[in-house]
């Protein structure tokens, strides 16, 4: 599946909900399915700055595809990362670099995308893309 396909799926899933509470409950559920980062990678270096909650992300290249694992100490943040990881993990670095994030807006989480918000969703996306750029350079 391409990133766009996965994003379309996520948008479909979220369109079933009528109100924010259902959306948040679903997001919290998704948080529980997040592929957790190995404890040994929960280092200061892997913490994404700009989050009020702690967020760790680790990236590894497998068969030229980037695999993300992550964790957070706040569950809503974890749900947001789970959505991002689902959309971006197991994709080529090039596809990740080129991907847009409009689906966040479509699933009603736009408020989390504001650069001034202390949850660091923007820093999170930036970090995923940075990993992709770094690995793309390696592949070249």
């Amino acid at each position: 599946m391409t990133i766009q396909d996965i994003q379309n799926d996520i948008v479909d899933e979220f369109s079933m909900f009528d109100d924010w509470m259902q959306r948040y409950e679903y997001m919290i559920e998704l948080g529980k399915s997040l592929p957790l980062i190995d404890e040994k990678y929960k280092t200061e270096d892997n913490i994404i700055k700009g989050c009020q909650s702690k967020v760790w992300v680790h990236a590894e290249l497998e068969d030229e595809k980037l695999v993300f694992t992550a964790d957070s100490d706040a569950i809503i943040t974890k749900g947001i990362i789970a959505i991002l990881v689902r959309a971006f993990s197991n994709q080529s670095p090039k596809a990740i670099i080129e991907a847009n994030t409009e689906f966040i807006d479509q699933i009603g989480l736009k408020e989390h995308l504001s650069p001034t918000r202390a949850n660091g969703l923007v820093s999170m996306i930036k970090q995923l893309k940075m990993y992709a750029i770094a690995y793309q350079t390696q592949l070249n």
Partner: protein, 404 residues
């Protein structure tokens, strides 16, 4: 007595809806809301007499200068300072603290000691750390106990003839505990040390009397007491302000300038370089008038009632822990629910129209002490109601249900 309905009418923002719910504003410790009287004052300034102050011969400049200086006198009377020139207009509490810390660079020497309390806001830690770096002075920390109260017997041990400065907040922003500043000041003076009290949190609840406290420096911000942002006050005893060198150079703070030598203006202008926040200063005066019209005794009695009501209601939520359990406390509840991150609670209650603050509240050492990443802080003002507290309790319960 507080006429709560009448007071709420004064605050246009309280009619707002947030996320489809009536706004419940419980982030007063971060910034207070602005009554119409203060908004009118700001509009009046820009509509009728906006001009640069001091030395202008034209009418508008005279009017603006008069109003600005009248505001200084209002602030002086409010804090009961001896002279109006002891009230220095600043951009806020942080500015005032930095001004004093800068001034002490020339006074301190290597090996001198400063005492800081463990419940300080970063703005009352970092300027002093920078001062220590510049001078070789040493920063000593006055610890707190599990209730968030300062351990005063440790203070006695820290004080010595080496102590030159002590700084402490009047009320802790992270926990709401009222610190025993009278004792802190008295004991510091016995060893010849000066004291700076950070009144950022206190001035919304208490009317400090700087002469009775005998405090050397007291700093505060207008925006925590119904005034605008970007303006505050530094009170300093005349003899201290005379001793400290100017903080910034520029217009307004000089007597005579030549390329060979510049002489500085007297107090308070020596510390007020450049065009100040004229409108802000005048509106600060209006905010002080507004609060005094309601009366600080009334404000305190009403807020105490809210605090007791809130504490009782919140304590009934299972797994909820309140940080800062001192009997002497401002109307603020800093809490966590077991197993739930404060950020998650803040996000959910915001969805229900309730504004609280989450995080370390710029007091990381306090959070480290309790070994927590942060807290949720609900801070009440005299325009809040018990019904709003009920809404918070329901919202927190809902958040707990969703997040557990």
């Amino acid at each position: 007595m507080i006429n709560i309905d009448k007071i709420r009418e004064d605050f246009p923002i309280l009619k707002r809806k947030v996320n489809g719910h009536p706004l419940v504003y419980f982030d007063n410790a971060a910034t207070s809301q602005t009554p119409q009287q203060v908004i009118d004052c700001i509009v009046d300034y820009y509509s009728n007499y906006n001009a640069n102050i001091h030395r202008g011969v034209h009418t508008l400049s005279q009017e603006a200068t008069d109003k600005y200086e009248q505001a200084r006198i209002k602030i002086q009377r409010h804090f009961n300072a001896k002279h109006s020139h002891e009230m220095i207009f600043t951009s806020g509490t942080t500015h005032g603290t930095n001004l004093v810390a800068h001034g002490f660079t020339a006074i301190l020497k290597e090996g001198d000691e400063l005492i800081v309390s463990a419940v300080e806001h970063h703005s009352n830690i970092v300027p002093w750390q920078m001062l220590c770096e510049r001078t070789g002075a040493v920063l000593c920390v006055l610890p707190i106990d599990d209730h968030g109260e300062l351990i005063m017997r440790e203070y006695d041990k820290l004080l010595s003839e080496k102590t030159k400065l002590v700084f402490c907040n009047h009320i802790s922003n992270a926990l709401g505990v009222v610190n025993p500043i009278e004792e802190i000041i008295e004991k510091a003076h016995k060893v010849g040390a000066a004291v700076l009290i950070d009144g950022a949190q206190a001035t919304a609840h208490i009317k400090p009397d700087v002469q009775e406290l005998d405090v050397d420096f007291y700093v505060a911000s207008a925006h925590k007491m119904c005034g605008p942002t970007g303006v505050g006050v530094l009170y300093g005893k005349e003899e201290w302000l005379e001793k400290l060198p100017p903080y910034q150079g520029g217009g307004e703070m000089i007597a005579e300038v030549s390329f060979e030598k510049t002489t500085y203006a007297g107090l308070p202008h020596k510390f007020e370089a450049g065009t100040p926040n004229i409108c802000g200063g005048i509106a600060f005066g209006a905010a002080i008038d507004y609060m005094n019209n309601i009366g600080f005794d009334n404000i305190k009695a009403y807020e105490d009632e809210l605090l007791h009501y809130g504490t009782e209601k919140m304590s009934q939520i299972e797994g909820l822990r309140i940080y800062g359990n001192s009997k002497n406390k401002a109307s603020l509840i800093s809490f966590n629910i077991e197993g739930i991150h404060p950020y998650d609670i803040g996000t959910i209650v915001d969805k229900l129209g309730i504004a609280v603050r989450t995080g370390h509240h710029c007091a990381q050492p306090v959070m480290d002490f309790f070994k927590i990443p942060g807290t949720v802080r609900a801070s009440f003002a005299f325009y809040n109601t018990k019904e709003e507290i009920d809404a918070l309790v329901e919202a927190v319960k809902k958040a707990k249900m969703m997040l557990s």
